[in-house]
């Protein structure tokens, strides 16, 4: 059965983020009310994905290297590794390096359950690997091509691992052509356990309602969302099962696509050990 390989330190998987840093990303996110630029949302989404992945792999003794991780930015500066700080310039690193080498760590406030039906504010440390950037065109086609190269090399060394997951975070407006074919080429790469999974997080200026893991493009608000939906892999069965258990409304053939919503939940769908159900 595909997508059933155990993710372990001897058989790690791979997580590659493609981050749109083009000029259009300086526009506001999600309509007039948010007060945030798309570029800030992209940086937040990327940092939170990396944080959650690290936490997922952290054990008492430290971070287990269940994943190799890369962050590729695409915009006016070309297409290049986008991690800031000590990992600048690196294409793929072990998840333990991600955890121990953020560019900096900020303090943020977070509301948590106090156990008695209320919320209390908690100060937490918020590591940053990627800062907001927005300049130039959106060479998505080329970015998908670079991902193809990086993963081809990785796959040659890990032919039986759980297939790599690529998350493309963008406002969807590719300026170097139709990315559909490049996306298909990337998804045609595989290990013995299945094809590379390409998920897309569409952060738009549109105030349309967020959509998570749709199975039908008719629900989507514009042509960019439709294109990214068609470029997205279907969620493998076990990920869909976990999504259902997490209370997400996902139907058969749901795709790894999210419009103006949070894609951090994808990290919860990665299966590396027993995890308690969250109470809602």
């Amino acid at each position: 059965m595909a997508y059933s390989a155990e993710i372990s330190r001897t058989h790690p998987s791979c997580f590659l983020l493609l981050v749109d840093q083009s000029g259009s990303m300086s526009d506001g996110f999600g309509g007039a009310k948010s007060g945030k630029s798309k570029a800030e949302c992209v940086a937040d989404a990327t940092n939170r994905l990396l944080q959650n992945l690290v936490i997922k792999c952290a054990k008492e003794e430290g971070i287990r290297d269940y994943y190799h991780v890369g962050v590729i930015g695409y915009g006016s500066a070309g297409i290049a590794p986008a991690l800031a700080g000590p990992l600048a310039g690196k294409e793929l690193v072990a998840v333990s390096e991600i955890g121990t080498s953020p560019a900096r760590v900020e303090q943020r406030a977070r509301k948590v359950d106090d156990g008695a039906g209320g919320l209390v504010e908690q100060q937490v440390r918020f590591p940053i690997w990627l800062d907001a950037a927005a300049k130039g065109g959106t060479p998505m086609l080329e970015a998908l091509g670079l991902a193809h190269g990086i993963l081809s090399r990785w796959l040659a060394e890990h032919p039986s691992s759980f297939p790599p997951v690529v998350i493309n975070i963008t406002d969807g407006e590719s300026t170097d052509g139709d990315p559909m074919e490049a996306a298909s080429r990337l998804q045609s790469l595989s290990t013995s356990d299945g094809n590379v999974l390409l998920f897309n997080l569409h952060l738009s200026s549109s105030a349309a309602l967020p959509v998570e893991f749709p199975s039908d493009e008719a629900l989507l608000p514009d042509k960019f969302a439709s294109l990214l939906f068609r470029m997205s892999s279907e969620l493998p069965d076990h990920m869909r099962d976990i999504a259902l258990q997490e209370g997400k409304k996902v139907e058969g053939h749901a795709r790894g696509f999210s419009f103006n919503a949070d894609l951090v939940s994808v990290i919860q769908f990665l299966d590396i050990g027993t995890r308690p159900a969250e109470l809602r």
Binding site: Q51, I55, G99, T100, V112, R125, R275, P276, L279
Partner: protein
């Protein structure tokens, strides 16, 4: 019996704390609310045991998320010949009561299918206790001489319930292992894993016979 969840950090410390405090009689099981309130008082003990200065951000975050464990508690009270049992369960551990060679009750799960892969567990981080209340299961009853009680973690419980559903009497095997030698347990579990009838997971069995 407590079984820590692998994905949380220091779940072993939490599981041990739950078992020690329960055995010391510090966790009430008169009502689900009493039980949860006593468990909540252990949260700070757990944090005190695992929070150390200068932790990296991810270790601190993991501790803020809390550790989780399945919990199954059993008490026996009264005089010999007139004992009563009472049990509390949260999560995917399971208790089987066998009387006169037949399964009288399996608690809180009756079918292997009930043991999902995402159980609700006891967490060391504050959780909404009002919502957790319905997941705390309590039961009990009189004991009869010769009663056998088996406390099982999820992997073993799943095997037990599947085997029972298939018409077998798996308690004979468990009683045999329990009365012969503890050393037989690990090789027997290894065999079941090899045969693909038990998942590769930590397995614990506690067996009691009422005199």
């Amino acid at each position: 019996m407590a079984d820590g969840a692998t994905e949380s950090s220091y779940a072993g410390v939490w599981a041990r704390l739950l078992v020690e405090r329960f055995a010391a009689g510090e966790i009430e099981l008169a009502t689900a609310a009493d039980f949860l309130s006593d468990v909540a008082s252990l949260e700070s003990l757990w944090r005190g045991a695992v929070l150390t200065p200068n932790l990296p951000w991810f270790a601190e975050e993991k501790i803020l998320q809390g550790a989780s464990a399945a919990f199954l508690g059993l008490t026996l009270a009264g005089e010999q010949g007139a004992l009563a049992w009472r049990a509390v369960a949260v999560g995917d551990a399971c208790l089987a009561l066998v009387r006169d060679g037949e399964l009288l009750q399996s608690f809180p799960w009756e079918r292997a299918e009930d043991l999902g892969s995402r159980p609700v567990l006891l967490s060391s981080a504050p959780r909404n206790r009002t919502r957790l209340l319905e997941h705390v299961r309590l039961t009990g009853g009189p004991c009869a001489p010769g009663d056998e009680l088996f406390l099982m973690t999820d992997g073993l419980a799943r095997w037990f319930l599947e085997s029972y559903a298939g018409g077998d009497k798996p308690w004979h095997i468990l009683a045999g292992i329990a009365s012969d030698s503890e050393e037989q347990f690990a090789p027997w579990v290894a065999e079941l894993r090899e045969a693909g009838v038990m998942r590769n997971d930590d397995v614990t069995l506690t067996a009691l016979r009422i005199p």
